[in-house]
Symmetry: C3
Subunit: 143 residues, 3 copies
């Protein structure tokens, strides 16, 4: 009945430009592999142009609405001060990442995350180019 | 002095339309019931149109300012791609939920959450209709 | 190999007006002092006009872009309902804090937080005046 902790990294490619990737199954696999029945899992996006959150993973939101929302309030293609510092073009990526956040903690019981029926865990790549990405999946719990 | 974990669900009705509900006392009750003196409590909103955060719970913010802010940047009543997928009308609810996030972790010591004097824990229902809601309250700590 | 928990408060002055303070080193010190090799650290901003997140801590973003972003979507200097309740002038501070969130959990392994190369942990003071601030740094882990 002692608590323990298991830390893993999942890796994948993303297309950038507010590419939204469903990582729910990969996170669920780590919860299952831990063998814990009760606890929580922290999902953490490595990098300052990443976002972690939940969403109903359907194409309207994932391919259109979220991108249009961010383009309205923190548009790509604008000459941010960040861009002048580095000769980068991804000031908007950083603003979006800092605002949304890169960390999420989901409780589980009986070995299953307590999510809504249409609530998936997502990684968002706000950067302006394709990248190889790492996400930390850390499970704390007891058998 | 061993850490342990206690997972509960709190349930209540909400009115939707960015209804903001103060859950501080319910969360504090779960911390107290755990009997732990030091640890943290994760508050997780079940469902993809929910939000969890903190606020100074006073009517100006809770009844007006937050709703007007979101209506400006992610308005209800717009024909989002999400709405076309499902015949729903709640694309804005999903955008707001994904942006704000549905998970919060609050540390406690001496059995009391370390919150500011005017800092309350809130559940936000971004959906466009009244709903019955579930929030996970999970306490990790030691006696 | 038993998990344990260590809770600390860090204190500092901030200038308000979306002042962004890099707390990465202070958080790393608490992880190191804990003596734990594997676990996570929760960083929690005390107060309802605070924000916690990650960013690439460079002057363009920190001194200009983030402030301009928030000024566009939740401007200071507007007569919010909150201001009418209290005679305050910081309605925007509360909206920004609730939207961004005041809590972050960062996993660590081999005694080191798993952050991106240019990903720093920040405290943001959204209030409209200089303040003395407290941030909770809570480490859970095992040796």
């Amino acid at each position: 009945m002692m608590l323990d902790i298991v830390t893993s990294i999942i890796e994948f490619s993303s297309k950038g430009n507010t590419d939204i990737i469903d990582v729910t199954e990969k996170v669920a696999d780590k919860v299952e592999e831990s063998g814990f029945s009760e606890g929580n899992v922290t999902v953490f996006g490595v990098g300052s142009t990443t976002g972690i959150s939940t969403i109903e993973y359907e194409p309207g939101l994932v391919k259109h609405d979220i991108a249009e929302f961010w383009q309205k309030i923190a548009p790509y293609g604008v000459n941010y001060s960040h861009n002048q510092t580095w000769g980068d073009d991804n000031g908007a990526s950083h603003i979006r990442s800092t605002t949304q956040g890169s960390s999420l903690t989901v409780p589980f019981k009986n070995g299953e995350m307590i999510l809504g029926t249409w609530q998936q865990i997502i990684f968002v790549d706000f950067d302006t180019r394709p990248r190889s990405r790492r996400v930390v999946v850390q499970v704390i719990g007891k058998k």
